[in-house]
């Protein structure tokens, strides 16, 4: 019998029951993260059916999508948008009623849910983690099976602490060698998606393997797993190692004393066996990855920074050619021209993809001693209150402020434009977020995805480059 993949191992360890007729399993959930946008209907459903929350101690709530990134000390009364305020108040009421731990806006532990989980040590290897947010894949960086779910499933997990699930296929992304100097996990992720496409990983769990992955920091692994959903895979995985254990140790929810040894012994078994069989394997040479930016309106529409924006006729596939034509028109770009030198009006450094301390350090390195170009508005939004404090202790806030960046309070901010941070129509943005979809950051806004260092450089020079 062939060995098991990491996904196989975590799956097997969490199956409560499999229905022989339908093949559907009840999968036990170790950690359920919730936020204000995808839970109100779930709690309403629970209430209507007279059901309770089975494991409030395995549930953690944060407010992040709707929260403004300025003046948070004013509390919910300071949230100007009445609908956003209502959603935040609804979460506040629901967590109080069901006695769920909650980091509200303004709490130093508050921030983007996918930054908070790992930061608190709640995210641990071998766990199953779900959240009503597709970027839950982030937590896979710790060797946890983590993915987004819909609101009906949120309600199901609240009521039963299980998820109805079908086993997915195994995909390996083998990245050999090393990334070149100046090439980051973000570049690697955008490169992978440009190779496999946004549906390349559909139906699969994507395990990132190989020398280049081992060399990534935990922050880098989180960025990579975060973007696995943009390659179609609901969940990404990196097997845990010494870096993982060192990251978790000492965090508030990390196992203590004797429990740590027991946990670590188990965590060390969490890797794909040598003879494990993957349904699909993609090989990438770390040295082949260039700094990468997107030119279009799908994360798969990415090219090397030194590359040329494609034309519709460059694609053999008529569907891709049509998509290219639509994207170029939306983005206001011309095929056949270099992407380098494209002027931007806005820069956004933040989001669950790139708002951790390492990301802010990389951006600050570029910003230091320079100034944001005239006509450019640039903002830095730390992923959590704790990231913000750490950055301030390191003096990064001063570097940004002196360079003309806005230094904000934590939240999802301009990644999805549900809060006051949005693009105006026609504005072009160098963004460290995860989606360049039409209208994502604001109606008719134009998003170019890139790493924090490249985004900071765009802020300083006023152009992509």
């Amino acid at each position: 019998m062939a060995g098991k993949t990491l996904y196989d191992k975590i799956w097997d360890a969490h199956v409560v029951h499999t229905d022989a007729d339908t093949g559907e399993s009840l999968l036990y959930i170790d950690l359920h993260l919730i936020h204000e946008v995808t839970t109100p209907q779930a709690f309403a459903g629970l209430k209507a059916a007279g059901r309770g929350v089975r494991r409030r101690d395995l549930t953690l709530a944060v407010a992040d999508h709707n929260t403004p990134t300025e003046n948070q000390s004013a509390g919910l009364a300071g949230v100007k948008d009445p609908e956003a305020r209502n959603q935040l108040e609804t979460l506040t009421r629901n967590v109080a009623e069901y006695e769920i731990e909650y980091f509200p806006m303004g709490d130093i532990r508050n921030g983007i849910v996918h930054v908070v989980g790992p930061e608190q040590g709640r995210t641990q290897p071998g766990m199953t983690i779900v959240c009503g947010d597709s970027h839950t894949s982030t937590h896979g960086a710790f060797g946890a099976l983590a993915h987004g779910i819909g609101t009906s499933e949120v309600e199901h997990v609240l009521a039963t602490q299980t998820l109805r699930a079908r086993k997915m296929k195994n995909m390996a992304i083998e990245v050999s060698g090393s990334l070149k100097e100046g090439v980051t996990a973000k570049d690697l992720a955008l490169h992978i998606i440009s190779v496999i496409g946004t549906a390349g990983g559909t139906g699969h769990v994507m395990e990132f393997r190989g020398g280049a992955i081992r060399k990534l920091s935990m922050e880098g692994r989180m960025t990579l797993c975060n973007l696995s959903i943009e390659g179609g895979a609901r969940a990404g995985l990196v097997a845990p190692d010494e870096k993982t254990f060192a990251y978790i140790k000492g965090r508030p929810a990390a196992p203590k004393a004797g429990a740590w040894d027991l946990a670590e012994t188990y965590w060390r078994t969490l890797h794909s066996d040598d003879d494990a069989v993957f349904d699909e394997i993609v090989h990438i040479k770390g040295e082949d990855v260039e700094p990468t930016v997107t030119w279009g309106t799908s994360p798969e529409q990415g090219i090397a920074l030194s590359g040329i924006i494609p034309k519709p006729e460059d694609f053999d596939d008529p569907v891709k050619a049509a998509a290219c034509e639509r994207a170029l028109a939306y983005m206001g770009l011309e095929g056949g021209k270099p992407i380098k030198g494209t002027p931007v009006q806005r820069v956004f450094i933040g989001s669950c993809t790139n708002s951790r301390i390492e990301d802010l350090r990389a951006a600050a390195d570029v910003a230091k001693g320079n100034h944001v170009a005239e006509g450019v508005r640039a903002m830095v939004v730390p992923g959590s209150g704790l990231v913000r404090v750490q950055a301030e202790e390191e003096g990064l806030d001063q570097i940004f402020i002196e360079a003309g960046f806005e230094w904000r309070e934590p939240g999802c901010s301009m990644c999805l434009g549900m809060n006051p941070d949005t693009l105006a129509p026609g504005e072009r943005c160098a963004s460290t977020s995860n989606r360049n979809f039409e209208g994502r950051q604001g109606r008719d806004g134009r998003t170019h995805l890139m790493s924090p260092a490249l985004a900071a450089r765009a802020a300083i020079t006023g152009v992509i480059g």
Binding site: E24, L26, D30, Q41, A84, G148, G150, F437, R443
Partner: protein, 209 residues
């Protein structure tokens, strides 16, 4: 959840340069400004908002669902990787609120696909050339299709039937309009047993509170 068995209704083709539109993401299906609701209903106002309205806020007469012949469409035909991106269940809620209970496409993104089944919407996967042909038929003068879940067929106005695959368990749940939480709660004893074992073998997973 309302059961889905058989549906006869108008099919609307969502096209891009004459081809079923690919990579229709959930931000496109319902943009962020409509996610601030605490209800499941009333979301059709946000459905394809940026496609169906012009920059000045007036309706875009070119958009398929704004055309009078497709106003009552219950079937949508689109291109591959439909529903990619955000996990927002507001996307199927908005389709449902519009009266669309079946989407036909060559492929679907996983989370959206799953969310459809939780809301009585049938996602039908058919090959790209078949979707193209069906989209062309839906664009013609007769755009009434029949989708039969029991028989697993889609029949276009030309009378030709196209068989599709569907997971047996999902099919049964959809046909019954199953209350999944209620059904899962019947396995409570199994969940109890799993939890007891988990506490014993992985004690570090029990938060100290």
């Amino acid at each position: 959840m309302k059961a889905f068995t058989q549906l006869t209704g108008t099919a609307a083709p969502l096209l891009e340069k004459g081809k079923p539109m690919s990579n229709v993401d959930t931000d496109m299906i319902i943009p962020k400004q409509f996610l601030k609701t605490t209800e499941r209903t009333g979301l059709s106002k946000g459905l394809f908002h940026e496609l169906k309205t012009l920059s000045d806020g007036s309706p875009n007469p070119q958009f398929v669902l704004n055309r009078p012949e497709y106003a009552t469409a219950s079937i949508l035909i689109a291109g591959k990787n439909f529903g990619c991106g955000s996990s927002r269940e507001h996307a199927p809620w908005a389709l449902l609120d519009q009266g669309i209970t079946c989407v036909i496409a060559p492929s679907f993104a996983d989370i959206f696909h799953n969310n459809c089944y939780k809301n009585g919407i049938l996602p039908v996967c058919l090959p790209e050339d078949v979707c193209q042909k069906l989209a062309e038929q839906a664009g013609g003068s007769n755009h009434v299709f029949t989708v039969d879940l029991e028989a697993q067929t889609v029949t276009g106005p030309d009378g030709e039937s196209h068989g599709f695959e569907v997971d047996e368990g999902r099919k049964a749940n959809l046909m019954a309009g199953l209350d999944e939480i209620g059904a899962s709660l019947t396995a409570s004893a199994r969940i109890d047993a799993f939890e007891a074992e988990r506490k014993l073998t992985k004690p570090w997973l029990e938060p100290a509170r």
